[in-house]
Every structure is written in structure tokens, then in C-alpha cells.
Amino acid sequence: MPALPRLLAAEDHDRMAALNWYARGVVEGLHVGMHRSPYIGVSVEFKEHRAYVRGDEVRSIDWKLYGKTDRLFVRQYEHESNLKATLLVDQSGSMAYRGTQGTGISKHLFATRLAACLSYLFVSQHDAVGLSLFDTQVRTMLPPRNRVSQLEHLMHALADSSCGGETRLGEVLTDAASRVGRRGVVFLISDGFGDVEPLLRSLSLLRQLASEVVFFQVWHPDELDFPFSTRTRFQSLETPGQERVVDPLSFRKTYLRNLERFQTAVAEGCTQRRITHVPCRSDEPHAELIARFLSRREAV
């Protein structure tokens, strides 16, 4: 796996190996796994009895109970399934920002490493994981699988990805939602830049299809602190030609107010739609971020 060392450091391996993801709700999967399945079927875990109706398989009748009660009951068993996780990674132009100093990592690289860690986490616990890379549309789509080779495919896809172009997050997520199909967990890793309402509508659609939607909103520290002091011309990473000259010292207050409004709108929209919203900075360790997120999630 030549791509693995590039996206996953050794400490990430160790950290992910110590973590487990437990589905919060039931999930649908093809393989027997560690998560509860909505299907009652072949299993050793008894769930309940119910009255026999015509059409039920005769072999499912609990004859011992019939001998005791003289009535026909059918035994039902709990079906344990593997989890199907889908990673939606934004590779639009806005994810290319890496700061003015040029020493930090870009938001896109942070997103790919975060996705790699999550992939490793799910594959290591035999869950199916898929990947969807998108900008204005879905560029790469790897359906969820729980094979070991799936991890290699994911790593290659993530390593080969590059960012650029505009973002139509709402449309792309709607398209992605149609591909998620069955109930599972969807991870959206994006800066979420764009109009808030289409984004929330798409996330709401995803939430209806998936059992859980987690939105890792990636911020670069510059975008949170706005540390500029000299008069600056800001050129759009997504739309060529779009620029704005600003005196940062006088504009900073307004910027921070805009930022707060945007963050509040996204956070409140996610909460209303029962979407887990995880703001994260691109300069924090992604493995630690996942660990902290899982710890908080289990506590909840």
C-alpha cells in the first residue's frame, strides 16, 4: 500500500487501532458485524416471540412454547450487521487555502488525512467504507466495501485527489444522497463555504437516508482569526477574477461578525436536523480530533 504512509502516519495507525466506532442507530449491511441491523434473521441473539401468521416459515415456530401454551409463536433473532460508512470529501478550490505563511497544510490535505483516518478506523473494524470526492459534482465514487483492499483503493483515491474549481455543495450532496442508498453513516468533510440554506437542505436529505450524518467543517486558522494587518487584496480561490481589496485593520470587526453569523447558522441548522456538526481547525491533529469526537459521542 504505497499511499498509506503518505496520508497515515504511524502514530495515526496506533491511535486509530485503539478506537471503535459504534453505530448509534441500526444500520443495514451485507455482512455480519458489530452493529445492530434492522433485519431479524440468522443469529444466535434471541430477540422476541410473536404470534404465528400464515406465511411464516414453519422452522421458525417455537415448538417448545407451543407445547407449553398450545399456541403458535415464532422466534425472532436479532440480526447483527456491518456498518456502511460513506465519506464525502470536498475538493473544491476553497479547500486549497493553506495560509499566508505557506508553512501550514491546506484544508484539503487536512480533509484527506481525516478521511484516511476514518477509513482506516472502519476498515479495521470490518465495516464497509466508501468515498465520494466532489467539487461542483461528484468526481470520484468508491462504493462502500469492507475488504482490506478497499482501504488501498481509498488511499489512492484520496492521495490522487486535487482541489480546484467552484463549489455547489447543495447540489452535490443531493446527488451523493441518492448514491448512499441504504441506511448507514455519512461523513461530510468540507469547509461548507457557500450558501447556508442549500447546504442545510442537502444535509437534511442525507439525514433522512442515513442513520447518522457527521459534518466535519474544516477551518483554516487564518479564516478564524483574520490576522492580516496591511492593506490586502483577497483573490478568490474558486472564482477567478473575483477579488476584494480590504483594509484588514478596519475590516476585521466586520469579518468576525460575518464569521460568527455563518457559524451560528450552520451550527443551528445542523442541530435542528440532528446532524452532528464538528468544527475543526486544519492545524490540529486529525487523529486526536477523531478520538475527541468519538469520546464526546459515546458520552452523549
Binding site: T232, R233, S236, V246, Y255, L259
Partner: protein, 670 residues
């Protein structure tokens, strides 16, 4: 509105600095590829306008700071009606330099007017403007500084008349005396604003390094006054030019006797750079030409001439010297005068107890030698015609003819003699009484004391005191006492403050009559009020008392005129002491300062830089011309300086700039 330093208004152009920085910053910016473009949108239009307004306000504040600061430094004057009232009162002392250097040509267009003409014109203008607004006094600096005319406030005519009557003197400017006089006048003033205005050509000899320390000390003294006077210097430029000066340098004596040869030393100096030939010089006594001579003078050279004259007639005489200056501009130093006093021969009557065959055995022998000495202070002639008589055979007529009557240890006199002596002294004669063993103190108390009709001796004679019985100040017995040294209060004895003229303390005394004031009784009402002790021993015993009597004077000694009482007659100081006391009487020498009188003859005014430095050291204001001063004073009189308020505005602007900049750039929380 006017400005005292209008040139500094150019500093307002400094507002271009913040404006340029602002424009430069607008044209230069840093480029960043940015993702969150939607966060850069200013959806709140009101907020955007507020940001723009604050930016413009900040730029305005930053431009206003250098502008207001420059205006502040230009010292603006705001004219208000209130200032012309009570708060505008002032006292002005105009110090006008009427020294002879002011006769030089002024450096004005054409160069035809003298510096003195320009000074008078300037003084007229100053008086004309200040009259009615300030109490005005004029001090003339030439020679010895003195007030010219009476102070005036409303009517300037007396002061203008006094200025018109002034002429450049043949003496240098008395700068120190003038400023001291002005300081006294300003100190006595009660006006809130006080100023001294100096109109001078600022010759280096008057204002240079020689008087620098005194000027600065005076300025420090001014600064201790409750209202510190302002000092304004108005220079009048006088052209350096060729000049010749003449003056008396030295004289063998200023008090002489008839027929005595008198040496007069003259100094003639060419202050120019050209050789002068056949310059006529005339020396005159009492207006009659005595010597006429033509002189050849090398450039920048000094010649000394010695003339010997004889003055036969007693009384005051005037020696004058005059030359024809080829340059002709400065005439005050082309002549000099000298007053000489020729004394009449003094008739001295020495009365002794009994005559002796040999002179030095007589009671008055040493005294006669001293008065007739040819090496005395009064020169090579006989200042006195001395006559010695015995006390028993004194003709009253001789007393009436004598100027000086000496009683040398005379025990007593006949009544008619006493009456004659008293009458002569009352008419202006001098009585000198020496006391020894022979003196009958009881007769003196009864006949010449306060109880008598002829109250001649101011103090009472007591017993004879011997030095071995006295104790010196250290408490140890001594075989001889000495006369207490100077300084002496009496002008005649002040001559001996200089050790070169003799030291009285070198004389030792073995005995003397005790002297003490008469008892304070009703009979002493006629006692001389001015009786004063002139000499005493080191232990404080009185030796010489002086008092007036009518028009004359009485000297009362406690010792004898010979060597019986001590070694005083044997000392060199005895001759000048007796000559001064008995012959000069109250005549005193006139001090002369020939160097100072002629120090302005070489016209070397201070340079502009030196004047500026002088003004700075004196804490004064140097004006370029009288018009400059008048404009300054006009602004002061008609307006009020507001630079303090503007300085406060600058401080407020700085605070406002910090506040606005802080609000624009504050990195507050979200």
C-alpha cells in the same frame, strides 16, 4: 490674527506626510488567495459607511495634528477688545545707546545717516507707539547710565524732548549700569507687563565677553522678580570705518599747587587701515592753545605723547586736547578734556609748648618736615607754608591768617587765642590737636569742652595710657600697640587701603591719651553730631577723632606729633598721612578710566550670530529692526497669544487619533 513667528507657518505643509502615507497605502496592498470570500462581503451598509467615515476621520485627525502644531509654534495672536484694556498695561524702559560709537554711519540704504540719527528715529517710533499704553522711561547708556527725562504714560512729548536733547557722548555705553537702572525701574513698577527695549549698535567693547558674566547675572536677578521683565534688543548696524581717537592717558596729579610742573600723557590712535599724515593736534589749557603739532599715524597704531605744563593760578583748570579726524564721522573721540585742581598754598600754624633749638627736638618738627616734604603726595612743590610758634606767644592775628592750626601737646592757651582759634575754625579753618604728657586735660575740658563757649574738642581727653599696661586682643601684655589697619571709612584714609600707599599698622605706639565721649549731660546739646572715630589701636583705643565745627573741621589726636608716643612720625606713611589730613582736607581725587572712555573707537559691532547668542543668553528677543519690534508689540498689545490653547488642541487631537485608530484596529472578540 497675527503670528509672532510667521515663518513657522510653512510647517503646516507637514500635513502632506500623513496624507501621502494614506494615499501610498491605498495604492499598495498585499495579495492573498482567499477562500472565505463570502465572509468579506459587507452586508451591513451602515456599518460599511461607518468604517469609511472613521477612516476619513482618522486621516483628518492625522492631517490636523501637524497643521495645528505648526500654527501653535508660529505663536498666533488673537486680537480681542479685552486685551487692550486693563490687561494690556505695561511698563517699558527704553535704553538708548548714546555712546560715541553711534556717530558712525548706519548701514542703511545710502549710508548717509548716522547711527545716532537712526537711534533717535527708532526711539521716536517706539515712544510714539507705546505712549498711552505703557508707562515709558528712557535711560541713556552713554558714559554713566542715567534716566533721560521723567517717566510718562499719556503725553509722549517730555520723553521725545529728552531724546531730542541727547547727543552722543564722548564715552562708551554703560551697559551694566543701564540694565541695572532699568531693572530697578521695572522692579518698582506695578504693571503686569514689564519690558526693557535696548536700541544700540551693540559694539563688542560694550556687549562682548567682558560684560557677559555681569549681563547673565543681571538676567538671573531679573528672573527672580515676580513678573519677569521682557528684554528686547533692537540692533542698529553701524558700518566699520576709519577713525582716529585722542585722549588723556595719565596725569601726574589731578590736584596740584601753583607753579608745580604737571605731566600730561596723551594717547593718539589710528583705528583705520590707512596711513594718516599731518593730523593736526592741539593741547589747550583753559581754552588757550598750549601746543599745536602735526602727527603722522600708522595704520592701526597707537602713539603716546607727554606734555609738561605749569599752572600758576589756583583754582580749577581744564586741559583739553583736540585733533582733526580725517575720517570725520566720529568726532566724540577726537577731543578729550581733563579737570585739574590747583590748590592755593595752605598757611599752617604749628603751636607747640615751647620752641627748641633743633628742629627734630621740637614737638612739631616731624610734622613740619612732613608738610614741607617735596616727595609727598602733592608733588614737587611746597603745598604748605608752615610757621611754628610757642603757645605762650601766639599772635591772634596769625591765627586768623592760617588755614590749618595745629596744637601740638599744648597744655593751655590764652583766652583770646582760644577765641581766635574758635572763630577761624568756624569760618572754615582746620584745627588739629595732638596730645601728650604736657596736655592739661582739665583745661581742655573746661575751655574747649562742651561746657565752654568754644566747644572745639569733640571727645574728652583722659589719662595717659601706656602700651605695656594694655592688653592686645589676644589677652597678652605687649610693650607697644599698633594702629588698626584698613579698610577705612573716611575718604581721606581710604587712600591707605592700598598697601602701596603706606601701612598705618606698621607704626607702633607706646603711649597715648585716653579718649572718650563727653558725658551725656544737658550741656552737651551743642556737641558735634558728626564726630566720628577715624583711627584706633588694635585693642580699640581711640586715636583720632574728626568732627565739624561751623564751616571748619577739627581733628583730635590721642598721640603726640613727634616720636614721643610711638614710631608713627618715623614711618614713611606719616608724610602722606599728614599731607592728606591737613592739606587736602576734603578734596578727593577724580577717578579716570581712559581705557574705557576710548574703547568704542574701533567700531566692531557684534555679528548677527553673536547678537542672537547674546539674546539667547539674556533670555531676550532679538529683533531685526525697530519695525519688527513694533509689530511684535502691536500684536502683544492688541491681541492675546493662544499657542497654549492650540497646544492643548494638539494633545486632544493626539488622544482622538489614538481613540479612533484604536476603534478601527481593535482586535476585539467576535
Amino acid at each position: 490674527m497675527g503670528f509672532l513667528n510667521a515663518m513657522l507657518l510653512f510647517g503646516t505643509a507637514a500635513f502632506a506626510v500623513p496624507l501621502g502615507i494614506h494615499l501610498l497605502n491605498r495604492s499598495r496592498f498585499y495579495s492573498v488567495d482567499w477562500a472565505a470570500m463570502h465572509l468579506l462581503d459587507v452586508s451591513d451598509l451602515q456599518n460599511a459607511r461607518r468604517i469609511e467615515w472613521r477612516s476619513l476621520l482618522l486621516l483628518l485627525l492625522r492631517c490636523m495634528i501637524p497643521i495645528v502644531l505648526a500654527v501653535c509654534m508660529a505663536r498666533p495672536i488673537v486680537q480681542t477688545a479685552a486685551v487692550g484694556g486693563a490687561s494690556g498695561r505695561s511698563t517699558t524702559v527704553l535704553l538708548l545707546d548714546d555712546s560715541y560709537s553711534m556717530q558712525g554711519r548706519a548701514t542703511e540704504p545710502g549710508g548717509q545717516l548716522s547711527g545716532w540719527t537712526m537711534a533717535q528715529s527708532a526711539a521716536d517710533e517706539v515712544v510714539g507707539q507705546l505712549a498711552g499704553q505703557a508707562e515709558l522711561s528712557v535711560v541713556a547708556l552713554g558714559g554713566e547710565a542715567h534716566p533721560a527725562g521723567e517717566p510718562t504714560r499719556r503725553d509722549p512729548r517730555p520723553v521725545l524732548g529728552a531724546i531730542r536733547r541727547l547727543e552722543p557722548l564722548s564715552a562708551a555705553a554703560d551697559v551694566i549700569g543701564g540694565l541695572r537702572l532699568a531693572g530697578d525701574m521695572l522692579t518698582a513698577s506695578r504693571e503686569p507687563h514689564r519690558q526693557a527695549v535696548v536700541v544700540s549698535d551693540f559694539q563688542r567693547a560694550d556687549w562682548g565677553a567682558s560684560v557677559e558674566a555681569a549681563l547673565e547675572a543681571m538676567r538671573r536677578q531679573w528672573e527672580t522678580l515676580p513678573a519677569i521683565p521682557e528684554l528686547h534688543l533692537i540692533p542698529l548696524d553701524v558700518q566699520p570705518q576709519a577713525n582716529v581717537s585722542v585722549g588723556f592717558d595719565a596725569i601726574s596729579t589731578e590736584v596740584t599747587l601753583p607753579g608745580e610742573p604737571l605731566d600730561l600723557q596723551l594717547t593718539v590712535e589710528n583705528h583705520g587701515n590707512e596711513q594718516l599724515q599731518t593730523v593736526p593736534l592741539r593741547l589747550a589749557i583753559d581754552g588757550r592753545d598750549l601746543v599745536s603739532r602735526n602727527l603722522d599715524l600708522a595704520p592701526n597704531a597707537r602713539s603716546q605723547l607727554l606734555f609738561t605744563v605749569n599752572l600758576d593760578t589756583p583754582g580749577p583748570h581744564v586741559a583739553s586736547v583736540e585733533l582733526d579726524d580725517p575720517a570725520g564721522q566720529i568726532t566724540a573721540d577726537d577731543q578729550d578734556t581733563l579737570q585739574i585742581e590747583t590748590l592755593p598754598r595752605r598757611q599752617v600754624l604749628l603751636i607747640e609748648p615751647e620752641p627748641k633749638p633743633r628742629l627734630l627736638e621740637c614737638e612739631t618738627g616731624f610734622l613740619q618736615l612732613a608738610l614741607e616734604a617735596t616727595a609727598g603726595e602733592l608733588g614737587a612743590g611746597q603745598a604748605a607754608e608752615v610757621r611754628r610758634v610757642a603757645a605762650a606767644t601766639v599772635p591772634p592775628a596769625a591765627i586768623a591768617e592760617s588755614d590749618v592750626i595745629v596744637l601740638a601737646d599744648v597744655p593751655r592757651l590764652a583766652d583770646d587765642v582760644v577765641a581766635a582759634v574758635e572763630q577761624r575754625v568756624a569760618e572754615g579753618g582746620l584745627l588739629c590737636v595732638f596730645a601728650g604728657e604736657s596736655l592739661d586735660s582739665g583745661w581742655y575740658a573746661d575751655t574747649l569742652g562742651p561746657a565752654s563757649a568754644s566747644y572745639l574738642v569733640p571727645w574728652r581727653y583722659g589719662d595717659l595710657a601706656v602700651a605695656s599696661q594694655q592688653a592686645d586682643p589676644s589677652g597678652e601684655a605687649a610693650s607697644a600697640a599698633s594702629i588698626r589697619g584698613g579698610p577705612y571709612a573716611d575718604p581721606l584714609l581710604a587712600f591707605f587701603d592700598d598697601p602701596q600707599h603706606g601701612q598705618l599698622e606698621n607704626a607702633s605706639l607706646t603711649s597715648w591719651r585716653q579718649l572718650e565721649p563727653w558725658p551725656d549731660t544737658a550741656d552737651t546739646t551743642a556737641a558735634p553730631a558728626d564726630a566720628k572715630l577715624l583711627l584706633s589701636t588694635q585693642s580699640g583705643a581711640p586715636l583720632l577723632i574728626a568732627a565739624s565745627h561751623g564751616e571748619g573741621r577739627v581733628l583730635q589726636w590721642a598721640i603726640t606729633a613727634d616720636e614721643t608716643s610711638g614710631s608713627l612720625p618715623l614711618q614713611p606713611v606719616f608724610v602722606p598721612l599728614m599731607q592728606r589730613l591737613l592739606l587736602l582736607d576734603l578734596t578727593s581725587a577724580v577717578a579716570r578710566h581712559p581705557e574705557r572712555r576710548r574703547q568704542e573707537s574701533t567700531l566692531t559691532p557684534l555679528t548677527a550670530a553673536e547678537r542672537a547668542s547674546l539674546a539667547q543668553r539674556l533670555g531676550g528677543t532679538l529683533h531685526t529692526s525697530v519695525d519688527d519690534f513694533l509689530a511684535y508689540d502691536s500684536n502683544r498689545q492688541g491681541g492675546r497669544e493662544i499657542w497654549r490653547w492650540l497646544l492643548a488642541v494638539v494633545v486632544l487631537l493626539l488622544f482622538a487619533e489614538m481613540l479612533v485608530a484604536g476603534r478601527l484596529t481593535r482586535r476585539g472578540g467576535r
